[in-house]
């Protein structure tokens, strides 16, 4: 990957993180602005304080927004926004 490709990849990742944050706030009706969520903030526990019902909602949101299926085995992907985006990018690479 050359410098230009690396820059494009970083931009794509950044845009996906923003889309993910918007989706989370809208889908879970959170009383915050998407920009308040940092890429590495834990989604569960003391992060965004989401619970297991929210997890399923988030899973459905990722499927609808990014066309990527998540299962019980992908729980580690729910660690943070960055983890979710990483999982989606990896999933796309696997398809290619």
């Amino acid at each position: 990957m050359n410098l230009f490709e690396a820059r494009d990849a970083a931009r794509e990742r950044q845009e996906m993180c923003l889309r993910m944050k918007k989706m989370i706030v809208e889908r879970l009706d959170l009383p915050i602005e998407p920009g308040w969520i940092t890429d590495d903030q834990p989604v569960f526990g003391r992060g965004l304080e989401l619970d297991s019902v929210d997890t399923l909602e988030l899973l459905l949101g990722v499927e609808a927004e990014f066309d990527v299926s998540l299962t019980e085995d992908d729980r580690s992907a729910f660690g943070s926004v960055a983890c979710l985006v990483e999982h989606i990018l990896k999933d796309r690479q696997d398809i290619l």
């Binding site: 297991s52 019902v53 997890t55 399923l56 909602e57 899973l59 459905l60 299962t71 019980e72």
Partner: protein, 165 residues
């Protein structure tokens, strides 16, 4: 569709049951009892994810004493609870058939979203309840449900159960 339920769990003593599942069969699956059991009969079962049941609405429902004294209207929460219980029957039947990886003994209503109550339900109405499982993550299961009277949809929405056991 006729489904035979094997006696997989001796404690349940369900034996061989065929559709329709009658009220006495349902009481062996659900822990609910009067005045909080809202599924009278199961008329269709398309395993693993769809079930159709019946609830007959009677003036004898305790809720009508207060909702309302001059006009009997079934509370919307009763429709949600009826659908949640039917989802519980679906989970229970699967557990009895050992279709579940884990035999869940039941579940609790954990979420309700996008419910619409389109028409009033009154004494004498027969509710046709339909539940379809739409998503799942571990013990959290989401269902789409609707209730109809005489072919007209009176309520629909999405509910989530947290399975236990």
């Amino acid at each position: 569709m006729t489904t035979t339920l094997p006696s997989a769990h001796p404690a349940q003593e369900l034996g061989e049951l065929r559709l329709p599942l009658e009220a006495d069969d349902i009481r062996r699956i659900l822990p609910h009892r009067w005045p909080m059991i809202f599924v009278d009969r199961v008329i269709s079962l398309k395993l693993p994810n769809e079930i159709i049941g019946i609830k007959n609405v009677s003036i004898a429902e305790p809720a009508f004493e207060g909702h309302f004294p001059q006009q009997s209207v079934l509370p919307g929460i009763y429709l949600i609870e009826s659908l949640a219980q039917l989802a519980g029957v679906l989970v229970g039947v699967r557990a009895l058939r050992s279709d579940e990886e884990i035999a869940h003994s039941g579940g609790y209503l954990a979420g309700v979203k996008r419910f619409r109550f389109r028409e009033q339900v009154r004494p004498g109405d027969q509710l046709r309840l339909t539940i379809v499982e739409t998503a799942r993550l571990g013990r959290i299961v989401e269902f789409r449900g609707d209730a109809a009277v005489g072919g007209r949809k009176v309520a629909d929405g999405v509910l989530t159960l947290a399975l236990v056991g």
